[in-house]
């Protein structure tokens, strides 16, 4: 392989990790969107329930992916040993705290517990719980980005923009997940205006995410390595078609149509449109994580006026078996 082909794009963190980062983000986002809506007014209860109901299982499924990625999952319980420096250890704590709060909050909303939904009107519990959960959720979102940006070997990721990007994407995909859940459970539970408000919020988040993506890629021009990685990401067809177009632009159009063009539509119609945008957006969110991971190009090494790259590890041997001499 010639010198210029020697660019190593990591494969260590692949689909499993992308799924974990994605689901962790969606779960936290779903909670945050639901909890924020719950703080606004009783009319958003269906959204609150969707968010609380989704967050725990999504994050748990994400953790299952994470465990599946581990080389030695049997020892995963050791992972919180180094809170002082490791984002994985910190993540374990943050995610655990979030899961605990999400469960407490969720159970408080449903019979037979009802301690949140039936709390006295002057009780601070729902608000305190929500705010604590929202803070934890935001940490979870940020952490999925911080995990990558602490990887010294991968210059593309070494930027504070990445946690922001993952947070925005998590909020958006969380909103979309909530929207889909409501649409599937009981599309008429929300009023048309609520759907259209959600569409507006979604559109806003999409615009912000597009800006952050642009900023993320643009900021990668800081070094040759990160620029090359960013270029690779910007040329990745699944990122362009799956995330930018299908996952962001199409939902943006749907949301704008919902806001501007569907003033008279029935809630069910709006729910269906929102869910369609949601499915696309969720796919986009996963592909964004995948694309960021796939663009992870190991830093080259400059020494004595030369630039060295670690060649890709030879692909697994699939040499045809040939023939053994007669034995």
């Amino acid at each position: 392989m010639s010198i210029e082909k020697q660019r190593q794009f990591q494969t260590t963190w692949g689909g499993m990790v992308a799924a974990y980062l994605f689901l962790g983000g969606v779960g936290a986002g779903a909670y945050v969107v639901g909890a924020v809506s719950g703080l606004l007014d009783q009319g958003w209860r269906p959204l609150l329930h969707a968010g609380l109901g989704l967050s725990f299982p999504l994050v748990i499924i994400g953790l299952v992916f994470l465990l599946a990625h581990l080389g030695s999952p049997g020892r995963a319980f050791l992972a919180a040993s180094r809170l002082g420096s490791s984002w994985i250890s910190r993540g374990v704590v943050i995610v655990s705290a979030f899961l605990a709060l999400a469960v407490i909050h969720f159970l408080g909303q449903v019979a037979p517990f009802d301690y949140v939904s039936n709390a006295p009107p002057d009780s601070a519990l729902p608000v305190v719980l929500s705010i604590a959960g929202i803070l934890c959720g935001l940490f979870v979102m940020l952490y999925t980005g911080a995990l990558l940006s602490a990887s010294k070997g991968y210059p593309l990721w070494r930027t504070g923009v990445l946690p922001v990007l993952f947070m925005v994407s998590a909020l958006l995909t969380g909103l979309l997940a909530d929207l889909i859940a409501v649409a599937l459970a009981d599309a008429s539970a929300l009023m048309a205006v609520q759907y259209r408000n959600l569409a507006l919020a979604g559109a806003g988040l999409i615009v912000v995410e597009l800006l952050v993506i642009f900023f993320f890629l643009h900021s990668a021009y800081r070094t040759d390595d990160s620029r090359e990685a960013a270029e690779a990401m910007a040329k990745n067809p699944s990122f362009i078609a799956g995330d930018l177009i299908a996952g962001l632009l199409v939902p943006l159009v749907i949301f704008l149509v919902m806001w501007f063009g569907m003033e008279d539509a029935a809630p069910k119609t709006l729910a269906a449109a929102g869910a369609a945008a949601g499915v696309l957006g969720l796919m986009g969110g996963f592909l964004l994580r995948s694309a960021v991971l796939a663009a992870g190009m190991q830093s080259s090494i400059e020494a004595a006026g030369f630039k060295f790259r670690t060649p890709s590890v030879a692909p697994p041997r699939e040499a045809p078996a040939g023939r053994l001499p007669p034995q």
């Binding site: 392989m1 010639s2 010198i3 210029e4 082909k5 020697q6 060649p311 030879a314 040499a319 045809p320 078996a321 040939g322 023939r323 053994l324 001499p325 007669p326 034995q327």
Partner: protein, 887 residues
């Protein structure tokens, strides 16, 4: 190492066998399994270091694709692409068949037996091959590939000029060196690891190495200056440098030329031969002090040691000698002869800028410090000798052309003009030529001695025939007419010719090829175009059996029986750093006689080649003759005859085992207490080297030629001989002449513009010959390397041709042969060249790791008269090709 494996854990010292470099190794055997290799610090060849090929030995030993049982061909059809339908047979069946075939051959004419061997196992072949040839009665033998790709010119000329197989700078003291197309000191060449250490030390010390190479080879990348050169033109550059030294800068070592060469020998104008003394017939020199001619060895005009005193003799001028007018010293003729190699002329040939040639010659000449001396501690006390810290050297890259012989000589001529030969800091023989032997026995003893004309005769050599004097041309007896040629080295031009049998008829060879024994060679891949090798040569043999580690393309094409050979880790070899000057320790470190010993018993039904050859001899009833053959071949190769008590019994009354033979040879060299058992402990027998053995030039009375007067004779004789057989234009014998010239390769005169690229192959450090490609560890690193498996091409050239990185392409030569590969772009190559690595591109299914890796360069190589050096019969291995994309 922390391991829970129970049982034994030992390190066994032995000698590597992944190439011909003969580095000492230690092999770890854990619980009976060979797990690790490292260098043997006791062995001067390597001193504990070892290259990646050597380290990868265990993968060869345990490769599941090794041949483990005798196999026979069940499909009678032979040729490329034919499935031989191998079937396992017993050793008894195999040997019965072989012995029957050999007996039939012997009855027809034993000379119909052809032995073909590999250079990789260069020490094993000195026994089973040489002894058997002598015992059986056949003169026919060759090492495929090796000889014609890297040896004919180089070994011949180095033998004449240094009594060595090769030459190398005295890295310990050389300050300025020139490297023409070779990787000595950078991963290959004889005793490669040791030389790599020395070359690295030299770099660290500040040695300036100038590398002429068409691409950024390992050595070019480490060079002080890389000089890109058109392939095959090294000889012209060398002559340009000689001219620049002599006629532009006026730098030469007169002392050396006067007393250590034939430069002062007076040459008569009539026919270019020496003006010999009327009375003694000895060549004459002109005594400048007494102003009269004297015989060259007159004590008043000779200096053996540097501190001897003598009259100056003339190097320039015209003299009337014993009535003959116009006699000139040989040097005067040389000086005039090289005048045509002006820097400008050489630039046109080589594409090396004229100014560069002139500048490099000046730098080299100044660095030679002509006149400087140094005092060394010899066994005779302190002695003053010249210090010449410069050297030029070369190997396969520059010698693999039709101008092989003269190119090698021209490059080395620079050393001799500067007096930089076999003295402190200069070009030294590799392996070392002179050996005073082990104190206790005086063996191995090897040193050069002067012929009646004063020129150096090798006192030990790898073959029976010596590089000097020339072989007396005589009616040939061999199937390759080998013994007809003055230089008497292998050739392909006869045996690969479609008219081979016509030639045999013409030269009245009364027998035809009959049985071939192959030892380890894969000649289908290592010689030239596979189809030509197979059809014109190999298929002419009625029965072929082969000792082999793997089933190679050779066996698939033509072998009838394959015998599973033991690899170097499974066998004894009594003398590995030897024979003679092969892969010796170099420089001032100790002498070392390395042996191979089995670190594990041969696995499965593998058997060692030499053991099997003994067995075959016994079955043929020629053991006694075989032992005599060994006895006869030992003196020239291993530094002296065997003492009577160690000599092998020649009457067939004693059944010497292989171990006994090994033990006898070692004991004979180092005394009874230092037999095989003793040497096995360290894997090497070492003893101190005398300084006068290292820097022997000014302790030895012999001279070397700068004027090849005797070539004139050789040329006349071979011309006459050929004509007597009616072969009038066999080869251009006019190249047998007294002074070197550069002759173009067919690539340089190719005028079809379609074939616009020059291609050549280079030696990747990870590989040796065609053996190592199947090693999965070496394969893995080869795939890591940007250059090993690709075709290196300059990026601008590629762009102009619409070829991109990684593109699959064909290289096609004017003969219509083509090979496939993929392109790796680089700036590190002269833009008209394409570089191909190693003997790659295997296609047999029996070597799946090697299969389809790299490019099979040799398929492009043409083996005809136009590609053969008349002087040395070396083969040209550069090609002109067109390159186009493969679909």
């Amino acid at each position: 190492m922390a391991t829970t494996t129970t049982g034994t854990d030992v390190w066994i010292p032995t000698c590597c066998g992944q190439c011909y470099c003969m580095c000492g190794i230690k092999v770890r055997v854990q619980n009976g399994v060979v797990t690790e290799v490292e260098g043997n610090p006791d062995a001067p060849t390597g001193r504990g270091s070892i290259c990646p090929k050597g380290l990868a030995g265990p993968a060869l030993l345990y490769d599941p694709y090794r041949v483990n049982y005798p196999l026979k061909r069940t499909n009678p059809e032979k040729g490329l692409g034919v499935d031989p339908k191998w079937k396992r047979i017993s050793w008894d069946e195999a040997l019965d068949t072989i012995v029957t075939k050999l007996k039939e051959c012997k009855a027809r004419d034993p000379r119909g037996l052809y032995f073909q061997a590999t250079t990789t196992q260069a020490s094993e072949i000195r026994f089973g091959v040489i002894g058997f040839m002598k015992g059986f009665g056949t003169p026919n033998y060759w090492v495929s590939g090796g000889g014609l790709h890297c040896g004919n010119g180089a070994h011949f000329m180095n033998g004449i000029m240094h009594m060595a197989w090769s030459i190398i700078p005295d890295f310990a003291h050389a300050n300025y060196t020139m490297n023409f197309g070779c990787s000595k000191g950078h991963g290959a060449g004889h005793s490669a690891v040791m030389n790599a250490t020395q070359a690295a030390d030299a770099r660290a010390r500040g040695n300036k190495n100038i590398v002429f190479d068409p691409f950024q080879s390992a050595q070019a990348s480490k060079a002080w200056e890389w000089v890109p050169i058109r392939v095959g033109t090294d000889g012209a550059v060398a002559l340009g440098i000689v001219n620049s030294l002599l006629n532009e800068h006026g730098i030469y070592d007169a002392e050396y030329l006067m007393y250590k060469t034939n430069a002062p020998y007076l040459v008569r104008p009539s026919d270019g031969r020496y003006k010999r003394d009327d009375a003694t017939k000895k060549p004459l020199v002109w005594d400048v002090v007494d102003k009269c001619p004297k015989v060259f060895d007159d004590p008043s005009v000779t200096r053996v040691q540097y501190e001897d005193t003598a009259h100056e003799v003339a190097l320039l001028g015209t003299f009337t000698v014993q009535g003959v007018q116009g006699c000139r010293p040989a040097f005067d003729l040389l000086k005039e002869h090289v005048k045509k190699y002006t820097p400008e002329y050489v630039e046109k040939i080589s594409w090396v800028p004229a100014a560069t040639i002139s500048r490099l010659a000046k730098e080299l000449g100044e660095a030679a410090e002509i006149g400087a001396t140094v005092t060394i501690q010899t066994s005779m006390g302190p002695k003053r000798i010249p210090k010449r810290p410069v050297a030029t050297h070369f190997f396969r890259g520059s010698q693999g052309h039709v101008n092989s012989g003269w190119t090698c000589l021209s490059i080395d001529m620079i050393n001799h003009v500067l007096g930089a030969a076999d003295t402190y800091g200069a070009a030294l023989g590799l392996g070392a030529a002179v050996n005073s032997g082990y104190e206790g026995t005086g063996k191995p003893l090897q040193k050069p001695y002067p012929c009646p004309d004063g020129l150096m005769v090798a006192g030990a050599w790898v073959y029976d025939h010596l590089p000097y004097p020339l072989h007396e041309p005589r009616p040939p007896t061999r199937l390759d007419l080998h013994d007809m040629f003055p230089t008497s080295i292998y050739n392909a031009v006869t045996i690969m010719s479609p008219q081979w049998f016509d030639l045999l008829k013409q030269f009245k060879i009364p027998y035809r090829p009959d049985v071939m024994i192959n030892f380890g060679s894969n000649s289908v891949m290592t010689m030239g175009n596979a189809q030509v090798v197979t059809e014109n040569f190999l298929k002419k043999f009625g029965f072929v059996f082969s000792f082999q580690l793997y089933i190679t393309e050779f066996e698939d094409a033509v072998a009838d029986i394959i015998l599973p050979d033991a690899c170097y880790l499974e066998r004894f070899t009594p003398a590995v750093s030897f024979p003679s000057t092969f892969s010796h320790p170099q420089g001032e470190d100790d002498w070392g006689w390395t042996i191979r010993q089995p670190v594990v018993k041969p696995l499965y039904e593998r058997r060692d080649f030499n053991e099997v050859m003994l067995d075959i001899c016994k079955r043929l009833g020629i053991s006694g003759k075989y032992f005599k053959g060994l006895n006869d071949s030992i003196p020239i190769r291993y530094g002296g005859p065997m003492s009577p008590e160690n000599k092998l019994v020649e009457d067939g009354s004693v059944d010497h085992s292989w171990e006994d033979i090994c033990d006898r040879l070692v004991r004979d060299r180092f005394g009874n207490e230092h037999g095989l058992e003793h040497v096995r402990k360290k894997g090497v027998f070492t003893w101190p080297k005398k300084k006068e053995d290292v820097y022997w030039k000014w302790f030895n009375p012999s001279r070397v030629p700068v004027y090849f007067e005797y070539f004139i004779d050789g040329g006349e004789k071979i011309t006459k001989l050929c004509e007597s057989f009616g072969a009038h234009d066999f080869l251009d014998w006019s190249r047998f002449k007294a002074l070197a010239d550069w002759y173009p390769c067919p690539t340089h005169t190719e005028d079809n513009p379609e074939y616009d690229m020059y291609t050549f192959y280079w030696r990747a450090i990870l590989h040796c010959n065609s053996l190592t490609q199947q090693n999965p560890w070496l394969d893995e690193l080869s795939a890591e390397d940007p250059y090993v498996y690709g075709l290196q091409m300059h990026r601008d050239t590629a762009r102009a041709k619409g070829i991109a990185e990684g593109d699959k392409v064909w290289l096609e030569n004017p003969e219509g042969n083509r090979v496939r590969g993929w392109v790796t772009l680089t700036d590190g190559i002269e833009p008209h060249h394409i570089a191909v690595a190693a003997v790659a591109g295997h296609w047999t299914d029996y070597q799946p790791i090697a299969k389809d890796k790299g490019t099979f360069f040799n398929d492009l190589v043409v083996m005809d008269k136009a590609h053969t050096d008349p002087l040395t019969l070396n083969q040209d291995i550069c090609c002109r090709v067109k390159i186009y994309k493969a679909d």
